[in-house]
Symmetry: C2
Subunit: 388 residues, 2 copies
């Protein structure tokens, strides 16, 4: 029987998700000469609507070019299929003659693969290949896409710190991250000196009040003459809801198919500006919402990230041969390598910053977190210390 691989990409794009796609194609062609390899357009929607592109005969050069291009070449979707939707997908996969379906995405994608595995009778191997800039997949040391986005964040904070040494004030950079603070923590990965930015780091894992925030900033300003803050868009208020949810009028709150409130607007930034204007009047304060800039930026594609994403794709083919499951990047004995774990162990679960990755005050990363980030993305440059 001819092997037929179906591949799709789900959720938010990353800088290296096409490396994983390329890894699957390269390895499937190697293991199964003559295999059919179909890309489903826009995630599971492409399967539902039988909207495929044939990747079997892509030249090496085309494949390499796709791999080096950020964002999802096959398009993506935010659809979170229920059981009925999954039955349609399964029907289409069988009509297509699929022997394996590799779905590259986050924990919702793993959940879809789990439903499909349970609905099918073992005739198709369902593989989840990891992808997320949020770094929030359990069973993974880190996830493909995270390091490149983290490099954007780390570069930005080193750069803004230099800017605010020259023209002092308060700066708040708001970083993507709904439930997990890894990406925001990465702001501190390349901190220059003991007085280097970010001086404060706020993540969703710790509740924050406006009063506490202003007090923290005031203390840093009086100490260093400036204050650079990294804040997750998903930072939580003391009632456990996201701050965004508590400040945006309910008729303006957008929700996606997963019920998630949209956090990426300017509301949080405006609320922060307001709190600083009230609490520290007369002090120059600037707030930038990084938004989509870090996610798949061609300026900060990290080589390790690209290589690991490709290897995750290669390993997904072996995972299919072994009957399916979730590919997880694990770190053991000084080496990061993909391993196969049960879908149920990853599906729908969120990994948070470990408690010991934050300072006791909860407003800065700990030495453990710094060591983790330095392992993933060692700083490769040395900057001069300004005269001011």
């Amino acid at each position: 029987m001819t092997e037929t691989f179906v591949i799709a990409q789900g959720g938010g794009p990353t800088a290296v998700i096409n490396q994983t796609l390329a890894g699957v194609v390269v390895e499937a062609r190697k293991r199964y000469p003559g295999a059919r390899i179909l890309g489903a357009l826009n995630g599971v929607r492409g399967i539902r609507d039988a909207n495929f592109v044939d990747l079997s005969a892509l030249s090496e050069q085309e494949l390499r070019r796709h791999a080096a291009t950020p964002s999802a070449a096959l398009g993506s979707t935010r659809d979170k299929p229920d059981i009925a939707y999954c039955e349609t997908i399964l029907k289409r996969l069988r009509q297509t003659g699929a022997t394996a379906f590799v779905y590259i995405g986050g924990n919702d994608t793993a959940a879809t693969q789990q439903i499909l595995t349970e609905a099918a009778g073992g005739d198709i191997a369902f593989v989840h290949a990891p992808k997320t800039i949020d770094n929030d997949l359990v069973k993974n040391d880190h996830t493909p896409g995270f390091i490149s986005a983290a490099q954007f964040i780390a570069s930005a904070f080193v750069s803004v710190d230099l800017d605010f040494r020259a023209l002092p004030g308060i700066y708040v950079g708001i970083v993507m991250g709904r439930h997990a603070g890894f990406l925001t923590a990465a702001a501190a990965a390349w901190q220059q000196d003991s007085d280097g930015a970010p001086h404060l780091v706020y993540v969703p894992e710790r509740a924050l009040s406006a009063g506490r925030f202003v007090d923290d900033v005031r203390a840093v300003v009086s100490r260093y003459g400036r204050c650079i803050v990294a804040m997750s868009e998903g930072v939580t208020a003391e009632d456990g809801r996201s701050v965004v949810e508590s400040i945006v009028p309910s008729d303006r709150l957008e929700r996606d198919a997963h019920g998630n409130v949209r956090l990426s607007g300017g509301d949080l930034g405006m609320a922060i500006e307001h709190a600083l204007r009230e609490g520290l009047p007369g002090v120059r304060a600037r707030v930038d919402t990084f938004g989509y800039l870090p996610r798949g930026n061609i300026s900060t594609i990290n080589e390790t990230d690209a290589r690991e994403a490709f290897e995750a794709g290669v390993f997904a083919v072996e995972a299919a041969e072994r009957g399916g499951g979730s590919v997880a990047l694990q770190y053991d004995g000084g080496i990061t390598a993909p391993r196969l774990v049960p879908l149920a162990n990853v599906a729908g679960k969120t990994r948070h910053l470990p408690d010991d990755f934050l300072s006791p005050e909860g407003n800065q990363i700990s030495p453990q977190c710094r060591a983790y980030l330095e392992r993933l993305m060692p700083r490769r440059f040395e900057l001069a210390k300004p005269f001011v």
Copy 2:
């Protein structure tokens, strides 16, 4: 007599302003062995307060490291000295034994040098060395600092375009630029295809109404299924004021010492989000304000920019020998080189996007503008065309 150079940096930092500083130091030491070279901290404030750092004996290695570090190593200032302030500066310069004062900055910096030249009797050479990410200095083909910031913008729009091909919607990126649209125009420098982003470009040189904006976006969405917009923070309303000025309550409008309204807040972004929500209900729309991220970002330091900034510093020393003036980067016969022009020709003047750099509709750049940008920052990569 021992030559004594005083150097200062003014206005917003850039990625390469320290290259110019290094250029001055290297060349001054070469031409005048034994010269004293003093850096004034925080621009003219450092002269007023006799706050200097001695740069004469900096090692080559330290100098190179400073040159490669973004932002103003000497600190900066937004002070715009009047005649009384300039007299104090002049007094301090004479007390210091200064024979030349090189001030690296934009058109306000040139204006300060002009006042000082007129107040002094020719005993000190006043040189303005160009710097601005806004690219808005007259007599210059382009300015040091622009290309690096422009590269950040161009990279961001190429990247976001790929993201919004995968998950369609409307994206508006708001870019620094008070009066001149060069940096916003740079969003289109690396446009990929005929349908590539940005689909719309709005600059301060053309008035924009909310209705026109929504109509433009609607037309692009219906044509391409997505719409990516580059908008200057200084975009003007039909009454000639900046849009920010027309939407922010006057008691919240911040002004700097130059009387400029602060544009960098989230207000414009929120107004845009509101206009899109009202005008195109149900369409996913995201607005990011790039803010400080492009200005001195270590991820997008452009080599040509760095070299030209250094050369501008080297030439500033020759300019001092010739009695002072403004250093201008001019393009002639296929070569960009620094030339000396009178301070009065540059001081306080703003260069705008030429009329023929915009499409007749005023919402896109023209082929002339594209050719200009491609000359400054040729695209050095080729990306794959996504399957969607």
